[in-house]
Structure formats: structure tokens, C-alpha cells
């Protein structure tokens, strides 16, 4: 898919690639611990070197996510957080001082809210794109053109089990970056990066110019090094959300968690840069 103007997300990757750096993209849930907390988190992540931020829209039945992220979604939903609340928060942010924010949002939410309305409000609120984990590329026909018109990137996902045939259509629809799922499982913390993943990424690089970002199971700086030659970015979710779990369990105050998240983000972005 070609567009005349490069997207906000595309620009981030272009700049980093020129400097031989990987993009570091942390994930947080909107509304965990609460909306003001999320605002502070976004600022903390930006100040600690995040190049892009993935913002999870809490959903009641997230199949692709592991226990840590689902628990975080449940905490947010228990406060009756609505999509409207998330958009209002985003509208008030100073997006100039923040990295581009990508929504991680279920198709159940987008469809019920209304595709046109969701994309318009997301665009007005300053979001740069969506990752829709339960929308495979062949079902994206209703959402993709609406997002393209609004200048938003619909990030395509690719799994270790994706066949070469499916890869071709995923690559064709891809803009912004391709979210490469590192393991055939759910999001969560893992020990090491698999050799098969490196092989798959190496092959993918021959198929597309769209940047490749790796997520699911990335949790420490050591995970980044083997990806340096074959990927353009890394995504960290559960490892970071674990700090918020500790806040919920009263093992940390939110201020302490913010400090540790800042420290962790710095380590990860240093490894990526």
C-alpha cells in the first residue's frame, strides 16, 4: 500500500533506521490505575525514551492477551471506564511532546461503537493508528479503507504459524509497521528469543520494506540484541504492566511504580538505540 505522505509512525521508523536504531514501543492499558495515572504514565514513557506507545483499550474478553494484561483490563473496566473517557483523555494531551500513540483495540469495540465514528474520534483525539488483534487481514475490508481515508495506520499482525501465502496478503495491506508475534501463544514474559523467529524475520525482510516490530514475550534488554539485525522495533507489554499489578496488589505505590517503569523503559530503549 503506498501513500503520498508518510505517516507519523512511518516517520519514527525512518528516522531511527537512518541512525541504525530500533524503535522501542512500550504498552500500557488506558485507565489502569486510572485516567490521571495513565496520563502520567504516557509522559513518563515519553521522557524515558519510548519511540512509540501502544495504548490498550480495555476489553472484557481479550483472547490474545495473557493474564497480566487481562487483569489490567479488568481493573480499568471495574471503574466503568468508557471509550469516550479514553478519547477525552487523549484529546487533552499535548501530542507534540509525546511519541505517536497506537491503540491496541478489539474489533468487538470498534464494530459496536461504529467503524466510521470510532476512526473519526480516534483521529481527532490524536491517535496514529490501531492494532486490532482479533481482526485478521482478510476480515479488515470494512475498517481498512476508513482508516486510510483518515490517514491512520492499521497495523497488521504476523504469527510464527503464518503461511507464506497469507504473509503475501498481510504484507500487501501493511502500513506503519508489521507486528511480528514472537511466539505461538499469548502475551507474557518469556526466557529467550527463539531461533525460528530470527529465521522468519530474515525471510520477511526480503518480502517487504514495511518496518518489522517484534512483540509477545519481549521482557528484558537481553532480548533486544539478537533482533538488531533482523527487526526495526521491539514491543514490551506484560513486563511493564506487571508494575501496575504490583500497585494493585499494594506492593508498590503508584509513584514507586512510575520510577521503576521509567528505569525499565530507559534500559530497554538504551538496548534498542
Amino acid at each position: 500500500m503506498t501513500t503520498n505522505t508518510i505517516s507519523k509512525i512511518g516517520q519514527v521508523f525512518q528516522t531511527l533506521q537512518a541512525e541504525n536504531k530500533l524503535a522501542f514501543m512500550p504498552f500500557v492499558t488506558a485507565g489502569d490505575p486510572d485516567i490521571p495515572g495513565t496520563q502520567r504514565l504516557l509522559e513518563t514513557l515519553a521522557d524515558s525514551g519510548a519511540d512509540l506507545i501502544e495504548l490498550g483499550f480495555p476489553y472484557s474478553d481479550p483472547v490474545a492477551d495473557g493474564p497480566v494484561i487481562q487483569a489490567s483490563y479488568t481493573r480499568a473496566l471495574n471503574q466503568h471506564l468508557s471509550v469516550h473517557d479514553i478519547f477525552s483523555m487523549l484529546e487533552k494531551l499535548d501530542h507534540e511532546s509525546l511519541p505517536p500513540i497506537v491503540a491496541m483495540v478489539s474489533y468487538a469495540i470498534i464494530y459496536r461503537f461504529g467503524i466510521e465514528k470510532f476512526v473519526k474520534q480516534a483521529s481527532d483525539a490524536g491517535l496514529a493508528g490501531f492494532i486490532v488483534p482479533d481482526l485478521p487481514t482478510n476480515e479488515a475490508g470494512e475498517l481498512l479503507p476508513v482508516m486510510q481515508n483518515a490517514g491512520l495506520d492499521l497495523i497488521q499482525l504476523l504469527a510464527p504459524t503464518t503461511t507464506h501465502e497469507r504473509t503475501a496478503s498481510i504484507v500487501e495491506n501493511s502500513t506503519g509497521f508489521i507486528y511480528c508475534i514472537a511466539v505461538s501463544g499469548i502475551t507474557g514474559v518469556r526466557e529467550k528469543v527463539a531461533d525460528e523467529l530470527i529465521e522468519q524475520l530474515r525471510w520477511l525482510k526480503t518480502q517487504t520494506k514495511t518496518p518489522l516490530a517484534v512483540g509477545f514475550g519481549i521482557s528484558k534488554p537481553d532480548h533486544v540484541q539478537p533482533l538488531r539485525e533482523v527487526a526495526d522495533g521491539v514491543i514490551v507489554g506484560s513486563a511493564l504492566v506487571s508494575y501496575l499489578q504490583q500497585v494493585a496488589d499494594k506492593e508498590l505505590t503508584f509513584d514507586e511504580a512510575l520510577k521503576q517503569i521509567a528505569e525499565f523503559t530507559k534500559q530497554m530503549s538504551d538496548a534498542a538505540h
Binding site: A64, T74, Y111, D134, P136, A159, T161, T163, I186
Partner: protein, 410 residues
Amino acid sequence: MTETGNISVATSVTKNVPDEQGRFGPYGRRFVPETLMYALDELNAEYEKARKDPEFQRELNELLRTYVGRASPLYFAERLTEHCRGAKIYLKREDLNHTGAHKINNTIGQALLTKRMGKPRVIAETGAGQHGVATATACARFGLPCVVYMGEEDIRRQALNVFKMKAMGAEVRPVTSGSRTLRDAVNEAFRDWMGSVADTHYILGSVVGPHPFPKIVRDFQSVIGEETRKQSLEEIGKLPDEVIACVGGGSNAAGMFYPFIEDESVTLIGVEAGGRGPKPGDHASPLTYGQPGVLHGSFSYVMQDDDGQTLDVHSISAGLDYPGVGPEHSYWKDTGRVKYTSVQDADALEAFQLTAKLEGILPAIESSHALAQVIKTAKDRSSEDVVVICLSGRGDKDVNEVALLLGQEI
């Protein structure tokens, strides 16, 4: 098909669904993580081969006959008919199957499919435990290790079924996320499958979920409707005028209705759980009160709030207590081929008692919803008319709950 906005509306009904993308009109399809696409494609390809293989069909039919105890009888409920003073009421006795419900038709079929695919492990979800027991049964029969995901809350309420599953060698894994009930058990089973597809088959228990599950489960349950059709012609001498089944996820209804879809003279009625009333949270009737949306990998009628978050549902019957429904039912609703209505807890409870007293049959509280609808409407038909109810399961499992509701101690 005509197009109205984003959603295409089916205007005439066909049995020739779903298409290759899993579409029943606009419903069904696959809204799942990319990680599962390969497994679903593989399952679909294997299933299509098995379906057309006479040896697979022969083996399945033999098991249904000798192990499940099919064909199940079509029984004339004479005293219930006299009581209602209208149409002749017949019961399709799925309660007489091995394990006491229709669920076994599907689990035997899918277990056979698992063997054929050479996968050494099975997972399943269960709410009240009926599908869990049916899966544990089939897996014991085939020597397949089996993990059943069950909400922590349901484990507490359904100790007897948990014991049965364990006795047959299944591992019951408690689900502690979300509402700790059936829909979380489904989420958990899908999660397991994402990391285990290489050596594991997921035996889904109803006509829900991503393509090809709604089709596979419908096909394995269609033995109910095929037998009923044949028995009606041979034993009554005509097709029924009306066929009624309860609808939760909708597997017994789909299996009962599908063979009758092209018989225009046969009225088809699906009965949802009306719970305490029409207020959101008080019932489990997405076809009656919900609207189309995405849940558990498919597009169908669902109970959601305005943000697409799944709403809590309620029914006296654990087997109907589900916020979604199979996509083929949504298709049948929109085409008008099947009429859907709902029956409240109290009426189902009354039908349970009446059927016990008049027929000496304890119906499952799920099936009691279909019975209640017939008890209400049979008098509007002539005594020449034939109404068949799918008695999807027996009510032994419900006696504690019923006694509690009637204020009696066991």
C-alpha cells in the same frame, strides 16, 4: 443478498452455508488472532476430508449406535398432549443418550476427528459441566488426555460434574479471570490453543466461535434433526408442523433445525432464556434483545454495552447462560426462517414440574424452556397438528437447583 451500509442482509435462506470464509449471510467468519488462522485452516481442511470419507462416516455411525445409543426415540407425549388440548406433542429423546444429553453427538465426532488429525491432546471449555463431561467421556473412550477449562465459580456450583470429569481421567483447570464463568473458560481454552495448536485439538462445545466450528458442531448435531425427520415420516406419516428447541449457544437447536430448513411447511421455533425479564443482565436472549457484534471469534447477535463490552447475562439454566449465540441462528433470524422467542425462569420451572408429573420424565432445565413454549402455544393448534420438541437433556443434574428454588431440602 442485498447490501445495506456495511452489513449485507440475507433475504432468502439456504442450507448451503457457510461459504469458504465461514459466512452465514453476514454472520460467522473469523475474528481471531493471526496465531490461530493456521490452526483453523488446517482444521477446516481436515474436516472437509473427513466429512467426505465413507470410512470416517461409518466409524462415526457405529459409535453413535453402539456407544451413544442412537437412534434416540421420537416419543408421543400423550398425557402432556391431553393436558394442553391442542397439537400432538412429541419429544425427541436426546436425554436418553449416553451421558444424558445431546452434547455427546458432537464430542464423539470431534474426538474421532482428533484421532484422524493425529493430535495427541484435547482441550475443552465448559460452563455447567455438560460439555466437559461429554468431552471427558469421548476422550476416555479414545484414550486422549484432556484438559477442561471451567470457571472457578462454576466449579464450586457443579461439584458433581467436576467429579465425573476427573473420574474419566480429565484434568479440570479452574479459570480465575474475568467473571469466572463459561465465557472466561472459552477465552482460556482459546489461549491454551494459541500456544498448543501443533499437538492439541480444541473440542468446542457449541455452534459458536470462529469458522469452521459453527459448521462442524452443526453437522455433528444434525443427526438429531435427520432422525426426527425420518421418524416423523415413518412413524407419524408426515413431517411435523412445528419443531421447537431451546437456544443457548444453540447446538441442539442447530442440529434439530438444519435438516428441516428447506421443508417450508415446518415452522421452526428457537426458545432463548428469558431469565427474570427483559432488562439487560436479567436474561440470556441475544437474538430477542441483543444486536450483532463480535464475541469469541465470530460475528453474531450478542449482549454487549454501547462500547462492545460483553454484558453479564442470567438464566436459571447454566447451559443457556451465555451472552452470544451461534452465527447460523443469527442468519436464520434475519431470513425469518426460524422464529426466536424467550421463556422466563419461572415458566421453565413450571414446565419442568409438569413434564415430570405427566410424563415421568425429568427434563433438563434448558429443554424445559422449549417445553414451556409448547405448553403455552399447543392449544392454538388443531389436534391433527404435530409439534416436536427437542428434549436435549435429562434433568437429574438440575434437581438440587430446582429443589432450592421450590424451597425444598434434599
